[in-house]
Symmetry: T
Subunit: 76 residues, 12 copies
C-alpha cells in the first residue's frame, strides 16, 4: 500500500479491529464500521479487510459482516 | 460460526464449500452461490468468503468467482 | 492423514468439515460432532481441529464451537 | 462473527485480544480471560481461540495461556 | 478456479476435499483420487493440491497421500 | 489458474501483482487496475484478489485499494 | 517465547517439535508429550500448540494427538 | 507470551496492536512505538513483530514502519 | 534464496511468478515454465513451488499447473 | 499424524525437519532424505512436504529440494 | 499502514518482488535492493518485508537476504 | 534453501529451530543464536527468521528474541 511521503515526524499509529455489518453490500458494511468508530476516534488513516462473512436467512444473504483493521494516529 | 445465545441445544453444523460467479459484482456472485445451494439445502446459517477471483476478457472482468464456506444445521 | 502401514491397497478418503458445539468443553464439542456424523457416515478415520470458537453470555462461555475436518474411507 | 438472524439493525462490533491463563485447563484459561474482561466490557458476544501456549516447570505444564479474540457490541 | 471465457451463464461450482494415495508417485495419488471420485461425480473441472504427506515403512515411502480440493459443476 | 480444457498446448503464464484504487467500490478498483494493465499487456486471463485495503478521510472511505494477482499468457 | 525480565544474560533456546497423544483429553496429550520429553531434556521453558488432531474408532475419538513446539534452554 | 514461572496467580493480559515508525532502523521504530504507548499503559510485558514495511522517497527508505503486538497485564 | 558463500558482492535478485503446465507430471510443468522463461531471462538461480493445481477432463488430470516463484540476478 | 487405531498405548512422537535433494524428481528427493535419516533414526512413521524448491542451472532444474517434516516414535 | 489522503486520482500501482543482500544488517539489505531497483524504476512508493534469511559461514552470518515487495506508480 | 550450483551430490540437510536473544539488536540476537549452535554443529549453511519478539521492561525493549530455522549438512 502507498504510504505518505510528506509526513515529517516519526509517527505512532494504533490499530483497532472492528466488524461492520450491512444488508446491502460489503462496501456499506465497511462504511458502517468506520462511521461508528468515527464517533470516538479522530484521525483514522487506513483500513484493511481481514475477513468477509455473513449470515443467511431463507437461502439469501441477510447481513454482510466485514472484519476491518483500522489504523489511527496516536497524538503526540 | 453460529453464535446465537438463544439456542438451547448442542447443535452440529456441516460446512459446504462453493464457488459462485457473476458478471456484475462480488455480492451477486455470493447470492448466486447461495441461491443455487438453497435448492437442496435447508437451514443455511452463515458463510465466509475464502477467495475472490475472476476471469478476464479483453482487459476487463468477465466473471467474478467467489469461493464461500457455508454452514448449515444438521437435523437432529 | 491416515498412515496405517498395514493397509494393502491405495485408498481414497473424503474429507468432511463439521462444527460441533458443547456447553461443557472443547473435547465434548468434538465428540458431539463425531457422534452426529456417525449416524450417516461409516468408517471415519481421523479428524483435525481447524478452529475453536464460542459464544458468550453474561461474560462467560455459553457454547464452545469447534470446527473439525473429518476423514473417512470411500468404499471401493 | 455474530450471525444472529433475529437482530434488526446494522450492528458494529469491536474486537479485543486477550490472553487468559490457568493452571488447570484450556477451558479454564478462556473463562478466566472472559471473567476479567467482563469487569469493564458489557455485551461480549463471541470469542475465537487464536493460540494455545503454556509455560513449563519441572517437566510439566505450569500454566496454559490462551490468546482469544473477543467480539462485543458497540452501543449505538 | 474455472476461468473459461466461453461459458455463457453464471455457474456455481461445489468443492470436494479428497485424499488419494499411491505407492508410486504424487501424480498417481492424484489420479487415484480423481478416478475414485469420478464414479459418483460428473463434471469435475479442476483440482488444487492442499497437502502432500505419506507414511514410512523401513525407512522408505510406503504411500504418498495427497489432499486435493476438487471443483465440479452443480447442474442447473 | 487457467483450466480451459479446450487448449491444446502446454502453456506458460506469467503473474503480475497490481494495486488498483477507486473512490467508488471494490469492483471498480479491480476494473481500474485491469484497464491500466491492459494498455501494455495482452491476453490477461484471470485475477485473484490478495488484499483489500483503503485510506480514510474524515471518518469515511476515501479510496478502496485492491491488490490483485493477474495471470497472462506468455507467447510462444 | 521466554519473556522473563529477571534473566540477566543473552540466552539461546532450542525448539523441539513433539506429538503427544491421549485417550482422555487435549491437556492430557500435552502432559504426556512433556513427561516423555522430560526424560532426556532438562530446562524446558514453554510450549505452543501447533495442531490438534485425533484418530476415530466406532464414531468416537480414540486418541487426541497434539503437536507441540517446546522451547528449552541451551546451557552455556 | 508471558512464561514467567515465578508468577503465582492466573493473570490476564491484553494485547494492543501498534505501528511505530523511524527513519533510522527497525529497532528504533519498535522503540518509538513502545515509548509512545508507555505514556498511557503500564506493565507492558512483551511484543511480537507482525509486519515490517516502509515508505520510499527518491529510491531510498524514508521511514521504517513496524507493526507490533504488545501484551500488558490487566490489573486484578 | 541464494546462499552461495563463494559470492563476493552484495547481490540483488528479482523474483518472477510463473505458471507452467504439462500433461505429464509436476516436474515437467516446472521444466516447461523455466524453459519458456529462459528465452528472455538469463541467470535464473532458484525456484519455489507456490501452488500445484490442474484441470480435469473425463475424470482424469488433463494438465498439471504449477505456480513458481523464480529468482534471478539483477546485473550490476 | 499417526492415526493407527490398533495401537494400545499413549505414544509420543518426535518431529524432525529435513531437506532432501535430487536431480531427478520430487519423489526422489523425498526418498533421499528418508534414506539418509534412516541411518540414525528407527521407527519413522510419516512425513509431510512443507516446501518444494530447487536450484536452476542454464535455464533448467539442477536439483529439486524438498523440505519434509518426519515423525518417529520415541521409545518408552 | 498509513495511506496518502492527498492524492487526487485513482492510481494504479505495480508490485515488484526483490531480494536484497548485505553483510552488515537487515536494513542495509533493504537499502541495497531499493538502490539497485531505483536504477530502472521511478516512483517507488512503499515496501514490505516478506522474508528475512541469510547464509552462514564459519558459524556466523555471511549475508542477510531480505525479500521485499515494492510498490511503484504506473504512469497514466 | 541451499541452491549452490557447484555442489555435485544429492545432499541432505537437517533443520534446527533456535531462539536467540540480545539486548542490542535483531541482528545481534541472530548472531548469538548461531554462535551458540556452532559449538556443537558444523556446516551450518543458511537461516530463516521465523519470528521476532521481545520482552519489555519499563516501557522499553529489554531483549530482542528471534526465532530462527537453521539448515546444516548431514554428513554422508
Amino acid at each position: 500500500m502507498p504510504t505518505r511521503a510528506a509526513e515529517s515526524k516519526d509517527h505512532v499509529y494504533k490499530i483497532l479491529d472492528l466488524v461492520g455489518s450491512s444488508e446491502k453490500s460489503i462496501e456499506d458494511a465497511i462504511q458502517n464500521a468506520l462511521a461508528r468508530a468515527a464517533k470516538t476516534i479522530r484521525d483514522m488513516k487506513w483500513f484493511e479487510v481481514m475477513q468477509t462473512r455473513g449470515d443467511i436467512e431463507n437461502g439469501a444473504v441477510r447481513h454482510y459482516q466485514v472484519t476491518l483493521r483500522v489504523g489511527f494516529t496516536l497524538e503526540g
